[in-house]
C-alpha cells in the first residue's frame, strides 16, 4: 500500500525541539514522506504530535535539524512552503479569522494575492466541497463544532496545497460529523493530495492509510504499514482498535 516509488515530498532530518523550560517535545525525528501518501501519526497525549506538525510548515523553529520540502529546506522560502503545506489546527475555534464564513475562506487566497475573481471562485468551490455554501454569510462564531472544522478545512483547501495536515480532526465530532470529515479525507487523498493525519482514534480511519507512525515521548518508535504496526501500538498508549483479530481494512467509519 505504501508508495516508495513516488518521489519524497517532505523530509525531516534530526528534527529536535526543546522548549525554553527544558521540555524535549520531539527528538531526532527522521521522516520521509512520499508524494500522495496517506500517513497517520498516532501517539499518547503530550507525545509531541502537534509540535511535529507545526515544524513541518515552519510555524516553529527547530532547536536542531531541518525540514525539507521537495529537497529544499522550508526555511529558505517559508511562505512558499506554507502555501504547499496546509495545516488544520487541533482547535478549530481559534483559527477563525473572518467575520463571515465566506470571508474566512477568502483569507488564504487573499494572502496569496490572487485576483478577486479567482478568490471568489475558490470560496464558492471549497464551500461547496465541504458543504457550507448555505452558511456563507453567517458569522463563523455561531457555527457548530463540526461546521467549524469543515470551515477550517475549506480555508486550507482554498489555498490549494499539495500536502494537507490534520491535527486531531475528529475531536468533538458526532457520528455524521466524523463520516463527513472522513469522506473529505479520502477524496482529497484520491485526488492526489499527500495527507498527514494526527489522531489516536485509529478505528475511525486506519483502513484508508498507507502508513502508520507512532510517536512516543517525542521519538518515532514505529513506522510502517498499519498491518505491521497495529499489534504493537498499545504499549505506546495508542489504543488498539477493536480487538486483536480484527482486520485493518475494517477500521473505518465509512459505510
Amino acid at each position: 500500500m505504501s508508495k516508495p516509488n513516488m518521489p519524497i515530498i517532505l523530509e525531516t532530518q534530526n528534527l529536535t525541539h526543546v522548549f525554553p523550560d527544558g521540555t524535549v517535545a520531539i527528538k531526532d525525528i527522521n521522516l520521509q514522506i512520499h508524494a500522495g501518501e496517506f500517513v497517520i501519526v498516532a501517539g499518547a497525549n503530550g507525545s509531541g504530535k502537534t509540535v511535529l506538525l507545526r515544524h513541518l510548515n515552519g510555524l516553529i523553529r527547530p532547536t536542531k535539524g531541518k525540514v525539507l520540502l521537495e529537497g529544499e529546506p522550508i526555511s529558505k522560502n517559508i511562505i512558499a512552503a506554507r502555501k504547499q503545506i496546509g495545516l488544520i489546527f487541533q482547535d478549530s475555534d481559534s483559527q477563525i479569522v473572518g467575520q463571515t464564513v465566506a470571508e474566512d475562506v477568502a483569507f488564504g487566497p487573499e494572502n496569496l494575492r490572487l485576483p478577486p475573481e479567482e478568490v471568489n471562485r475558490r470560496v464558492k468551490t471549497y464551500l461547496e466541497v465541504v458543504g457550507l455554501s448555505k452558511l456563507a454569510q453567517q458569522s463563523p462564531h455561531v457555527l457548530s463544532g463540526g461546521e467549524k472544522r469543515k470551515l477550517a478545512v475549506a480555508g486550507v483547501l482554498a489555498m490549494q496545497p499539495k500536502i494537507i495536515m490534520f491535527d486531531e480532526p475528529f475531536t468533538g465530532l458526532d457520528y455524521p460529523g466524523v463520516v463527513q470529515v472522513l469522506r473529505q479525507l479520502v477524496s482529497l487523498h484520491q485526488s492526489g493530495h499527500t495527507i498527514i493525519l494526527v489522531t489516536h482514534e485509529l478505528e475511525k480511519v486506519l483502513a484508508h492509510a498507507d502508513r502508520l507512525i507512532i510517536i512516543y515521548r517525542g521519538k518515532i518508535v514505529e513506522d510502517g504499514t498499519p498491518e505491521e504496526i497495529i499489534g504493537r501500538s498499545e504499549q505506546y498508549g495508542v489504543r488498539m482498535p477493536l480487538g486483536e483479530n480484527e482486520r485493518v481494512d475494517a477500521m473505518t467509519w465509512l459505510k
Binding site: S94, Q95, H141
Partner: protein, 255 residues
C-alpha cells in the same frame, strides 16, 4: 450572539444596502455637515422628515428599533438641554417655577439636542445598511492614498477586533456563570471582583490569540493582499448628486 447585540446591521435588500459603501460614506459625511450647519427651524423639520423617509424607504430599517436604541443617548441629550437652559443668558421664562432658566437657553438646548438626534440617526442609517466587512474595506480604500498609513494593517486590525468581540463576550459570560456557581457574587471587595474577571479573561484570550497568530501565519498572512473590489453604478452617482443638491437647497434656505 454578541454581534447581534452590539452592531445594528440589518441585512436587507434596499437601495442603500446595495449602494457603493464609499459613496454612501461621503453622503453620510455631507449629511452630518449639513446638520451641524443648519439654523432655522423649518430646515430642521425638512431634514428630520427626509431622514425619516430615508430610514424607512431607502434603507428599509425599523425606525422604532432605532429610536429605542437612542435611549443610550437620552442622558446626553438631557444634559445638553439642561445645561443650555441654565447657562445661556437671556429672558427668564414667564411663569416658569425654576429660576435661571431662560427662553434663549431652552431654545439653544432644544436645537443642540435636535442636532444630536439627527446626527445619531445618520450614523444609524450608515451602520444599519453597511456590513462591518464593507465598512472595513471602505476605510481601507480611503486610507490608501494617505502616505505613511499602513491601511492593510488597520483593516486587518478592524477585522480582528470584530472577530475577537464575540469570543471575549462568550468567555466573559461563561466565566461569570462559572463564578456564580462558586458564589463569587457574594464577595464585596471590588478589587477582587475585577481581578476575578480580568485575570482569567486575559489568560484565556492570550492563549487564544497565540493560536490565532499561528493560524494566520499558517495561511500565509501578508500585508500585500488581494484588495476588495468596489463597483460604483450610475445609481450611486445619482444618489450623491441628489444628496448634494438637496443639502445645498436646505442650507441656502436656512440662512
Amino acid at each position: 450572539m454578541a454581534q447581534i447585540v452590539l452592531f445594528h446591521y440589518f441585512p436587507r435588500n434596499s437601495i442603500l444596502h446595495k449602494m457603493d459603501g464609499r459613496v454612501k460614506l461621503i453622503c453620510m459625511i455631507l449629511f452630518s455637515v449639513a446638520i451641524s450647519l443648519v439654523q432655522s427651524i423649518p430646515s430642521f423639520i425638512i431634514l428630520t422628515a427626509s431622514l425619516i423617509l430615508i430610514t424607512l424607504l431607502a434603507a428599509r430599517l425599523p425606525l422604532i428599533t432605532l429610536l429605542k436604541d437612542m435611549k443610550y443617548f437620552s442622558f446626553l441629550i438631557l444634559i445638553i438641554l439642561l445645561v443650555n437652559s441654565f447657562v445661556i443668558p437671556g429672558r427668564p421664562i414667564p411663569g416658569f417655577p425654576l429660576p435661571g432658566v431662560t427662553v434663549e437657553g431652552v431654545m439653544t438646548g432644544l436645537i443642540a439636542s435636535w442636532r444630536l438626534v439627527l446626527i445619531i440617526m445618520v450614523c444609524a442609517v450608515m451602520t444599519g445598511t453597511t456590513s462591518l466587512i464593507t465598512l472595513k474595506n471602505v476605510v481601507e480604500w480611503y486610507l490608501r492614498p494617505i502616505p505613511l498609513v499602513p491601511e492593510t494593517r488597520i483593516a486587518t486590525m478592524i477585522n480582528l477586533t470584530f472577530v475577537f468581540i464575540p469570543v471575549i463576550f462568550d468567555t466573559v459570560s461563561e466565566m461569570l456563570s462559572a463564578q456564580k456557581a462558586r458564589c463569587v457574587e457574594g464577595r464585596r471587595n471590588p478589587l477582587k471582583r475585577i481581578m476575578f474577571i480580568a485575570f482569567p479573561l486575559l489568560v484565556q484570550t492570550f492563549r487564544r490569540t497565540e493560536e490565532l497568530i499561528l493560524a494566520m501565519e499558517a495561511r500565509c498572512y501578508s500585508d500585500d493582499r488581494t484588495r476588495a473590489v468596489f463597483a460604483t453604478t450610475a445609481k450611486d452617482w445619482l444618489i450623491l448628486a441628489f444628496t448634494v443638491l438637496f443639502l445645498a437647497f436646505i442650507l441656502f434656505y436656512s440662512f
